[in-house]
């Protein structure tokens, strides 16, 4: 009973700011101190839709960085989750190092090298910069999915004739589905909302968070519309992850 009320309260807490954003985004004219806008219109949304390239760039970088982080982080998460390392703390520290300084500093450090390597301002460069920040989160979430239970099931599948690829598809992936979905969601959101590192290595390339911020002061209506645009894929990712992680039991 209490849980249900608490759940509603939390839902309200999240819904209110979004409602406020929606109103702000369609308020063509809203002078203080009026509580409601004087004139509604689509000016903000029109302006926001011009950020299509930034949206596409952010989406592509986030998807590729998340995918790469899962591919690279999978073996690491596995080894850590099965407690096969003698000093997991050291690996954690190395992994978390880029998170200990602000993303802009990490990005700035990378930029120097990216310019030398011709990666600055390119999509692969942005993916790499985001990967550094996404990977630790993905590994930390993913490792909790592995353990004796999964490896025992894989052993069972081995003896019953399943080849390595089939074990992955029939046993491992279904077993870690929930944690994989959570790791992918977190990884996507970290990349999607990345400001500092994108600013540092982007060389002016439009990414959605970079496009949004200047409008916050100059034109709140466009900023609100952009914020809604910004929220959309995050909400879709959340919905997909929730669906995927729903326990089949």
């Amino acid at each position: 009973m209490i849980e249900r009320h608490a759940g509603r309260a939390v839902a309200l807490l999240f819904a209110l700011p979004i409602a406020a954003l929606v109103v702000r985004a369609v308020a063509d004219q809203w002078r203080a101190p009026a509580l409601v806008p004087q004139r509604l219109g689509l000016r903000g949304l029109d302006a926001a839709l011009e950020a299509g390239a930034a949206f596409a760039g952010s989406l592509a970088v986030a998807l590729v960085a998340t995918g790469a982080a899962i591919a690279i982080g999978w073996p690491a998460a596995r080894v850590l989750g099965e407690r096969r390392l003698r000093r997991p703390g050291l690996v954690f520290l190395l992994l978390a190092m880029p998170l200990l300084v602000t993303p802009y500093a990490t990005g700035a450090g990378l930029t120097e090298w990216f310019i030398r390597l011709g990666l600055a301002g390119t999509l692969p460069g942005l993916v790499l910069a985001h990967l550094v920040l996404v990977l630790p989160y993905v590994v930390v979430v993913l490792l909790s999915g592995f353990g004796a239970r999964v490896s025992e099931l894989e052993e069972m599948a081995r003896t019953f004739g399943a080849s390595p690829l089939r074990r992955l598809a029939w046993v491992t992936l279904p077993s870690v589905r929930a944690t994989l979905a959570a790791a992918a969601l977190l990884g996507f959101l970290v990349s999607w909302s990345q400001y500092g590192s994108s600013l540092a290595v982007g060389a002016g390339r439009p990414m959605l968070p970079l496009v949004l911020l200047p409008f916050v002061r100059t034109d709140p209506q466009v900023a609100a519309a952009l914020a809604l645009l910004f929220l959309a894929p995050a909400l879709v990712a959340l919905a997909v992850a929730t669906r995927a992680s729903r326990s089949p039991l």
Partner: protein, 350 residues
């Protein structure tokens, strides 16, 4: 069906030898129980045969095939693990038919065969259920059905009754034996329980500290142990050592007739074969009397010789009682002079 033949199997884990040269043959279509204390290497041998643990030296053959370098998923060996290891995202029938799916059998056919096997293990009607709600015994039956569904050349079961309620074990034990007989599948079964070994095995192999020390029909291990260590494991706790002269051995100053030629020898006799009587030359004091449900376990002291005996029925002598003991000559077993590959006996027991 194929015979399993292990010869000179050596396996080490973290530098320490676990299997020290195991020779074990299971005839095609027969059932052997591998028994031994925890840590003897039983599960390691099973995992090595299954291809789940690497073989350091030696040879494992299944029928005409050598299993050297054959990956686990191509060995055609089915394992019932200690835990059921069912896939929680599949229903019961899909779990049973797992090996058929790996073999590329169509789904409808898979489920038909899984249903038939579920009937065989007493779980008819369970096909569409989730595995989560099943009891430990039911899950282990599903695991057994899954193993049989694979139609393996070798079936291995690792302590299959360990996770099952004690009062459900009898039914599952009978089921395993019946199904094995009906299908004549070559079977290797692991347990640490000697009574279970006797009930489950056509033959029993005792493993101690990485060796097979005796492999024979169950009665032999109980009544004709190959060494003192075997006798001890199977509960023949009475060891009589000495010089046989004129067919007799001095036990606590009394000459007891024994089988075999004169000379130094060690004899064993099972506690349940020691006869308690009112008058006999060999006298003993009851040191301890422990009620064990089906019998009273007596610790006896006859001079410097300790003996164990079982008193069946209501009238067991209490601790401190003076009684007479008879050691029937046909129940005394003379240990072979050279025990085959037996590890050195540990410090003598008090």
């Amino acid at each position: 069906m194929s015979a399993l033949a292990c010869s000179g199997v050596v396996v080490s884990a973290a530098g320490a030898p676990v299997l020290r040269g195991v020779d074990l043959t299971v005839a095609a279509g027969s059932r052997t129980v591998l028994v031994g204390p925890s840590g003897a290497g039983k599960t390691t041998l099973l995992r090595t045969v299954a291809g789940l643990a690497p073989l350091d030296a030696g040879e494992i053959r299944l029928g005409a095939r050598s299993l050297r370098g054959v990956p686990a998923h191509r060995r055609r060996i089915a394992v019932v693990f200690q835990e059921p290891r069912l896939l929680p995202h599949l229903d019961v029938a899909d779990n049973v038919a797992f090996a058929l799916r790996a073999a590329g059998v169509r789904r409808a056919e898979r489920r038909r065969r899984a249903r038939a096997l579920l009937d065989d293990v007493g779980l008819g009607g369970f096909a569409d259920r989730r595995v989560r709600g099943l009891s430990g015994g039911e899950q282990q039956r599903v695991a057994l059905a899954r193993a049989l569904c694979a139609e393996p050349e070798l079936l291995m079961l690792d302590e299959p009754l360990a996770a099952v309620d004690p009062n459900r074990r009898e039914g599952l034990r009978r089921l395993i034996v019946d199904l094995q007989r009906a299908r004549a599948v070559t079977t290797l079964l692991i347990t640490h329980d000697r009574a279970e070994a006797a009930e489950l095995g056509e033959r029993v192999a005792l493993m101690l500290e990485g060796w097979i020390v005796q492999h024979a029909p169950p009665r032999e291990l109980f009544e004709r142990p190959a060494s003192a260590a075997v006798a001890r494991f199977f509960g023949a706790a009475n060891l009589l050592r000495g010089d046989v002269r004129a067919g007799r051995l001095a036990v606590a100053g009394v000459d007891v007739p024994v089988p075999g030629p004169d000379g130094p020898a060690t004899f064993t006799i099972r506690p349940e074969h020691v006869v308690l009587c009112d008058s006999a030359p060999l006298a003993a004091t009851v040191v301890e009397a422990v009620y064990a449900g089906t019998h009273v376990r007596l610790a006896l002291q006859a001079g410097s010789q300790r003996l164990q005996a079982h008193a069946v029925g209501g009238d067991a002598p209490p601790a401190g009682a003076r009684i007479a003991v008879e050691l029937p000559v046909d129940r005394l077993w003379r240990l072979p002079a050279t025990a085959p590959d037996a590890p050195a006996p540990r410090a003598a027991r008090p």
